[in-house]
Amino acid sequence: MTTMTMPASRSRTDTWLLVLMLWHGLLAVAGLVAVYVAFTGINGGLRFAVAGVLLVLALLSATTVPLIHRRDHRGRSISLVVNYLGFLTCTALLLDMIGAFTGIDDLAQRFGRGLPFLLISFVGYFIRSFGDRFEQFPQRQRSFQRVGNIIMLAGLLLFVLAIINFSGIPALASEILQPVRMALLLGLILFGVMFWAMWRQPVAEVMGVNNARSETLSGYLFLSPNFLGFLLFFAGPLLLSLYTSFTNWDAFGTRDWVGLENYARLLHMTFAQLSSPTQLATEVINTSIFDELFRFSILGKSFIVGAQDKLFWLSIRNTVVFCLIAVPLSVIPALLVGTILNSKLPGMKFFRAVYFIPSVAAVVGVSLIWQWMYNAAVGWINYAITSGIGAVNGLTGLAIADPQMRWLSSADTALLSVALMVAWQTIGFNTVLFVAGMQNIPKVLYEAATVDGAGTWAQFRNVTLPLLGPTTVFVLTTTLIQAFQVFEPIFIMTNPPGGPNNSTLSMVLYLYQNGFQRFRQGYASAIAWVLFLVIFAATVIQFRRQRGGAYEA
């Protein structure tokens, strides 16, 4: 291929490569200067990060020069990466300087004005798609589409006109004319041009790029928007939190390395034999360190278990119990209802839509509603129970006592109450997922089962359940992960959050209390990582059980 290229374009390519080498040389020098400036100009731990990144980029830039000279394909890759990152950085900085990010606040103000127009264009979309019902009448379909398109575009246009601040545009222009911004703009253009120059096919060919290498680069390129953001907003903070979990950071001042102390304190337990089941804990364990967690009897002997951080273990227990209640409650009914919905009875779409509604409602709003319903004195749920029992007693002459449930204020039922609400909110979504999974099961299998004489239950057990495997794994996993992280409903519905008597203290809530109420960020981070390990273990176990589960490629 390369040998067949025309000499003229060949020499142009060489010129470009020369320019690129010069550019990278310059860049390396500029980078080193920037390292110095950054290191002296910025205070705190940040300077190491900034200077380090700059140094790496400068060195990379420098190494490309000889590599490009040798027409080594690695030179092209490195050059592309450096230019790409430079381009992104310049863009981001420029946008930041002209206030594109913080300007979103003001945008919101005008966005309200534009919202009706946006709705108009939505309506246009619906008209458009309504036309699809007339596939037999292409003419009518087309006219629907045309009208829909016009409305949609008109709506969008009006929307844009409504939200743009025209008076700001000249200001924006003059803003960009300031030196630093001009420099950034120039950098942006230069990096962009250099990237494009290196990316072009002729250059690529000269640099000896084959299919695999180009695929690698494309892969990273496609992944980069997500990956860079992920590094910045997720992985970075995550590592910081891992580091924090090994320190005694209090959120303000000191951040001393304490090694595994936080984890040790979390997991520190003791165990002792009691001489009698009611013996005081003080007599057998060191209560200045440990608190009694629970006691139990085996073979006529009694034992006591204490923990240094009793609340942590309580929170684990609560979280596990919560999962054991909430997950089956939100999965099993969903499966059953899903089975009914999957039958071809009329009105199923309606019910499906109704069941989905709770999952679109904000947790905060829903928690407030349920808190009101659970009120023991004036709430609906107790009223329903009282009047139900009254009706039964009246009809049958029995004297069933009114249980007078104290849903959220009794340590026995508070966790159950929250779990019921969470299940109520999740069932609809799970139902829809199950129906989706069931519709993917080939009808042939059911027909075959019917021919074999299998009843409804047998069909469900032998056809639906096994083939629903992947969906079930997905539903179970997401529900479980969510349940492990339960926080908001507890935070809003129970008073004090986690009460009564710590019966609804979940792991995330305990973590929050430590980190944000008791100034123990280090300790809170340690809890977070233990929680992560617990969730991770639970998920892995689930996948192991479902061999060839959802995450297989």
Partner: protein
Amino acid sequence: MTQQAATASTYNPPRRSYRLRKAISYIAAYTVLIVFGVIVIFPFLVMLATSLKLPADTFSYPPRLLPRAPVSVELAGYDKPLPLYEIEVDGQQREMALVENTVRVGIYAAPDNLDATVTVPIDEVAPTGGADNQATATVDGAASPLFDVPVNGQIVPMVLINQTALGRFVDPENTSIETLANVRLSQPVSKLTAHPENYRDVLQLNGMSRALINTALVTLLVVLGQLVTSVLGGYAFARLRFPGRDTLFVLYLGTIMIPFVVLIMPLYQLMVLIGWTDRLAALIFPWVFTAYGTFLMRQFFLTIPREIEEAALIDGASRLQILWRIFIPAATPALATLATFTFLYAWNSFFWPLVIINTGNTNNHVLTLSLNVLRGRAADSPNLVLAGAAISVIPPMILFILAQRFFIESATSSGVKG
């Protein structure tokens, strides 16, 4: 038991009509669905109904679903309108006006017959023999003071058994009909009255209308952003081979399980560094890059046959073109699923806004945040709090109902292919 049941079933008429069985199963199915539907919908009905009430009405017991207001009547000689109650007088149900709330009454009985009691206002009773020299009777071995109690026009000396307070009711149409009855246990006459102005009050109270707009904007941007990054990332993971791909993917997967609270503090500091505290940008950009969306899109892209793509590659199409022309159209259902998930997440997120947006900066509040503030500020008026809740719950519901085809059927046809 099981055995019995099994035997019983064999005794069923062998050829029970197929139709009947079908009908029974239909009825059973619909019963289940309807009961379940009521459970699902009822809290929302409570929310809507309560949001239209007056504060006092929300605290009534037994709870009433519909907003009602007590009916009152103007009566000559009283400067305030008087509330009406359903009162039984001489076996007749009447609507009567409450003219006096707390009439102190005594429950009296003759010392020799304590079971036959009479209820008489205390000021109609005088101590037997005068206040200074009150006569007594022996009841249960103790001396009890005696009172002159008027019973059917006669004065009878009786002992006081108990005291209480009753309301004095008058029939507004015939003021001569008067009776004493317990106010608390009487049924007030009421009529349906909705108070939609609660919504206006809430919107004004907290700048909630602004919060609504902010939430819409944040949600829109997060959904758009996440769709873009997830499609690109998912495509890379699903279709492009590059060193480190699988390691990276496992890393991505692992982070799905990390509870968000872990990140709050470090992320907050990052925002301080960038200068985005108190800014809507902080609610948007960190959520544009998620592992979850990437994972979902990758799973879907994997199901698209490789052959189509390879044919296009040979035709000289670029990767971007392939993604655009082949993958995205095919993935519409998965995109809709992801959009739904993201929408719900962004619309409902509570914790991060709580931390990052200053409580005082109402211009940048999102709905959940306004609601949380409202919960504290209007704790006295559940009607307002639930009106706020309704405002946060209804728009996504409407959107969902309008775009049902998008939301559910797409999920249905795509399924979540594990």
